[in-house]
């Protein structure tokens, strides 16, 4: 555990008090694949959604590091991982680009709602035929006087079914290579925008996912976030925070998992001894500890370097790989230490495995992250 200053300790203690309320009935909610508005309102009441955003727009004005400490506490105390995912998605997808790239009028109109939770944000990047290859997106935005007209389709839109506002990435210059993409803020009720129904999926079932269709959506030109052609700059900025926010929550979830597994290994007896007396078990738990602490070091070290303005492209890719693989590995280890009990839905551990699989895929698949690191080494073609 990293040292926290007095303010960080107080904020984390405040966050921890919400854990029980937020977690209540989480296994049943997962079984129903239900996003629950009352739970979202409770989460919003904790103040976590506005932590990193400027106070003048309804945020708490906290640093990136302090935000991560509180998000780690959220993961440690809230067992509703789908809810946690909805929270970091709204913050990173919409709050972050608004704060960094939005004009004052857009900030004033939308950021207070994102901070308070009255508005839920989502971003629409991935397309059915291009997956992780953002450069291959075909959704286009054509200038028409004072507006842009957006046409295309998006897939894997986290928070899609519940979002009030979307950050849509579209091609403004199809031949423009990396400078051909622009980010737009789009209201849910924009004529021509339609959201698909929630898509059934393996894990994070309370965090709804959908498709998004844009059929000639007319968007005022002042809804551009950043500069026309600068969409990938926005996306790069956003993805760095999305990875840090999301996987620091997972770090907290790993800490809770480790604590729970240690307690079980001490209590559960077999052949006359606590199972933790056997190396097969204790070494597995130690491996969970090593992976959890490794993820922690990478997450916070990378965040410190990002906050200092350093280039963290490779570090962030490695952080994402290490943290997501640690989450998956430790979730499986917990099930194995618990044995048959770990396989039961009512124990709540199998749900964590399903959620952890998603972490290897979203925010840029781990395979893509390997490509990023390879490119910094002058490899990979």
């Amino acid at each position: 555990m990293r040292n926290r200053d007095a303010d960080q300790q107080a904020l984390c203690a405040g966050m921890a008090q919400w854990g029980k309320t937020l977690s209540e009935g989480h296994i049943e909610a997962d079984a129903r694949s239900a996003f629950e508005p009352h739970r979202w309102r409770s989460l919003a009441g904790s103040g976590v959604l506005g932590l990193p955003f400027p106070q003048q727009w309804g945020g708490a004005g906290q640093s990136l590091l302090t935000t991560l400490h509180v998000l780690e506490t959220l993961g440690e105390t809230c067992r509703e991982s789908g809810l946690n995912f909805c929270a970091t998605t709204s913050m990173a997808s919409t709050g972050v680009p608004l704060a960094a790239f939005g004009g004052d009028a857009l900030r004033e109109r939308y950021l207070p709602g994102i901070c308070s939770g009255e508005l839920i944000g989502a971003h629409a990047i991935t397309e059915p035929d291009s997956g992780s290859d953002a450069m291959a997106m075909t959704t286009r935005a054509e200038r028409d006087g004072t507006h842009y007209v957006l046409t295309g389709g998006k897939a894997f839109v986290s928070n899609g079914p519940i979002a009030d506002v979307f950050v849509v990435y579209a091609r403004t210059r199809p031949e423009g290579g990396p400078l051909g993409t622009t980010a737009f803020l789009v209201d849910r009720d924009t004529p021509g925008l339609s959201v698909g129904g929630p898509t059934a999926k393996m894990g994070l079932r309370t965090a709804p996912l959908s498709t998004l269709h844009l059929d000639g959506c007319r968007i005022p030109a002042d809804r551009v976030l950043g500069r026309t052609g600068g969409g990938l700059l926005v996306l790069d900025h956003v993805m760095k925070r999305e990875i840090l926010f999301g996987f620091t929550v997972q770090l907290g979830e790993m800490r809770h998992r480790l604590e729970r597994t240690v307690a079980y290994a001490r209590e559960r007896r077999a052949f006359g001894h606590p199972i933790g007396d056997y190396q097969a078990v204790s070494h597995r738990v130690v491996d969970m500890k090593i992976r959890t602490e490794t993820a922690a070091k990478w997450l916070y070290d990378t965040a410190e370097r990002l906050a200092a303005g350093e280039d963290v492209t490779a570090d962030l890719a490695m952080t994402k790989i290490l943290a997501s693989e640690a989450a998956l590995s430790t979730s499986l280890s917990a099930v194995r230490v618990f044995g048959g009990a770990g396989y039961l839905t009512e124990v709540g551990l199998e749900k964590e495995v399903r959620a952890a699989v998603a972490g290897t895929l979203y925010s840029g698949t781990n395979d893509i992250q390997y490509n990023h690191v390879a490119s910094t080494l002058g490899l990979g073609g």
Partner: protein, 87 residues
């Protein structure tokens, strides 16, 4: 060192280490597949705007301004000229 030389040196140092600055054709299409990857292009733009202290404001990121060393050189000259004349 001219602006074009500084641009060539940066691009070679950061993205094309197998070349020397003199081996980088000033009209090579940097945005074409395989020259510089998308993250590299973003990094290059940030360097150009910071290194030459361009006041970019909310101007469009026109790919034609960053397509080659010659194009970047011309873009820098235009931006500095515009800033100098207050235009």
């Amino acid at each position: 060192m001219s602006n074009a030389d500084q641009i060539s040196e940066y691009i070679v140092r950061e993205f094309l280490p197998d070349l020397t600055p003199s081996q980088l054709p000033p009209d090579l299409d940097l945005l074409a597949d395989g020259a510089i990857d998308s993250l590299g292009v973003l990094k290059m733009i940030a360097w150009v705007e910071h290194h030459f202290r361009l006041a970019v404001g909310d101007t469009d990121l026109d790919p034609e301004n960053f397509r080659s060393v010659n194009a970047i050189d011309a873009y820098v000259a235009r931006s500095q000229s515009t800033a100098a004349t207050g235009g």
